[in-house]
């Protein structure tokens, strides 16, 4: 009756890894759009926009992602009457979470662009949106790339939390396979290795980008 840990079980865990990667990719993309809006709101001249965006960041960086997940999973349906399946609810939660962190990283990058650049552009007769789009953002993007790649590691790791509400990504898949094979000493380290195999290259890339940026002589943006 006992089941060993063989190819079908490994396949199940690897399938979970795909969900981890898919969830991270969607959260990064959608959260990137949200984060851009948040970052722009944070450097806006409108005080109310700055406060709202700041509140959003504070709320999502000041509470556990697990709680955000619980609330998205069970709270939204209750609050709005919109019934959400697991995938959209989990995606939404991680998108909001990623949006807050990326918004803050990118705000830092935008503000790290020296104020002289703004002044010079204005002296040349450029309007604010044009200055932002054509002068500041291109420089900010360069500053923002290393910490953004660094955040991707944090995001991938944080999706493990989705396992707690029963979403079958790689951690949950590993847990389910421990339940049928009873080989925790094998399966959990394997799951850890899988995360490492995904995250470490991303970390290395982030570090390399950061050093290259430093080498070019511009300070890294405030985080």
């Amino acid at each position: 009756m006992s089941r060993g840990f063989g190819w079908p079980e490994l396949q199940f865990v690897l399938h979970g890894l795909l969900w981890t990667l898919g969830l991270s990719a969607v959260a990064l993309t959608a959260g990137g759009v949200g984060g851009m809006i948040i970052a722009l709101a944070r450097v806006s001249r409108l005080r109310v926009l700055r406060i709202v965006a700041g509140g959003y960041i504070g709320l999502f960086q000041g509470t556990p992602v697990l709680m955000q997940l619980f609330l998205a999973f069970f709270g939204l349906a209750v609050l709005t009457g919109v019934q959400m399946d697991a995938w959209p609810a989990v995606t939404l939660a991680f998108t909001l979470y990623a949006g807050a962190f990326l918004g803050e990283i990118w705000r830092g990058a935008i503000q790290a662009v020296p104020p002289e650049q703004w002044e010079a552009a204005r002296a040349l007769g450029l309007r604010r949106p044009a200055t932002l789009l054509r002068v500041v953002l291109p420089q900010a993007v360069r500053l923002a790339i290393p910490p953004t790649v660094g955040f991707l590691v944090q995001l991938i790791k944080s999706t493990a939390v989705a396992s707690i509400i029963g979403f079958v990504e790689v951690t949950r898949a590993g847990q389910l396979m421990v339940n049928v094979t009873f080989r925790p000493m094998l399966v959990y380290p394997l799951v850890a290795l899988l995360y490492f195999a995904v995250c470490w290259p991303v970390s290395l890339l982030s570090g390399r980008l950061e050093r290259r940026l430093d080498a070019r002589g511009s300070g890294s943006p405030r985080r």
Binding site: S2, G55, Y56, I57, G62, G81, V180, F182
Partner: protein, 269 residues
């Protein structure tokens, strides 16, 4: 992150709180859940997949187990495509309440406490809750639990009953799923665990080396499908379905296949 942001975050939380305590959600008017299932030909049923023998992941990677088979039969007779909503033990009822699932079929024991929140259909199975542990753990009755570490799963019948039976000095530890409870038992993190007799048997069978045995029975109960309280017509339909499938032997066959025990006579609700 700046402190200002955090403070503003507090403000945002206050706003959300005001929104949350305001007038509750608008209901979708008109269609009952049963109507909707028939119109869309789709039904969403909870699947708890780390709870042997009721629900596990089979070697083909798909859910399997007695409650999974029951859910499949139910969907088939509804004429609807089945979508499993995978849940942990703690999320069986919340998933139903949040509208993520239409029906909970996850060995939910029928209790008066739960019935305050969800509506139970007629039972389609019976289980008993036992304390089980390795041979070296000396427990013969509830009193012997004193000084022992006992694992329980949240939101289960064992969580509702074992603490009442436990004497002072019992150390109870809680997990969100039956899976981790079993892992804690097998890894020796706890002296014993509370779970269904079937789960205990399947753990013992699959891990002969661990020498897991049943120490004593805490309680027995019947379990059934549950729906939201407003879904009267769906509940009636499931009651009828249970009635028909009790008489034609389908439920007994499923139960016997997975538990290895004959289905006892089931009372009506």
């Amino acid at each position: 992150m700046e402190r200002r942001n955090l403070l503003a975050g507090g403000g945002a939380a206050g706003f959300l709180f005001a929104a949350a305590t305001g007038p509750a959600s608008a209901q979708t008017p008109g269609l009952s859940t049963l109507d909707r299932i028939q119109r869309d030909k789709k039904v969403r049923i909870t699947a708890e997949v780390d709870s042997p023998p009721f629900g596990i992941i089979g070697s083909d990677g798909q859910p399997d187990g007695s409650e999974i088979a029951t859910a499949r039969q139910l969907a088939k007779d509804l004429g609807a495509e089945l979508e499993f909503v995978q849940v942990s033990a703690t999320q069986r009822i919340p998933a139903l309440l949040a509208g993520r699932a239409d029906i909970a079929v996850s060995s939910l024991s029928i209790t008066t406490d739960r019935a305050k929140t969800v509506a139970f259909c007629a039972p389609h199975g019976a289980l008993s809750i036992v304390i089980c542990g390795p041979k070296k753990t000396a427990i013969a009755g509830p009193a012997d639990m004193a000084g022992k570490r006992i694992a329980l799963t949240r939101a289960t019948l064992e969580e509702a009953t074992v603490p009442k039976a436990a004497p002072k000095g019992t150390e109870l530890v809680f997990f969100d799923d039956i899976g981790p409870t079993i892992q804690a038992l097998l890894s020796g993190q706890v002296d014993a665990a509370g779970m269904s007799a079937f789960a205990a048997k399947s753990v013992a069978d699959r891990n002969p080396d661990a020498g897991i045995e049943v120490k004593f029975t805490v309680t027995t109960a019947y379990y059934g499908a549950a729906v939201r309280q407003a879904d009267e017509s769906l509940r009636h339909w499931i009651d009828t379905w249970v009635f028909v499938n009790t008489h034609n032997g389908v439920l007994a066959a499923i139960y016997e296949k997975y538990t290895g025990v004959k289905l006892p006579p089931l009372p009506t609700i």
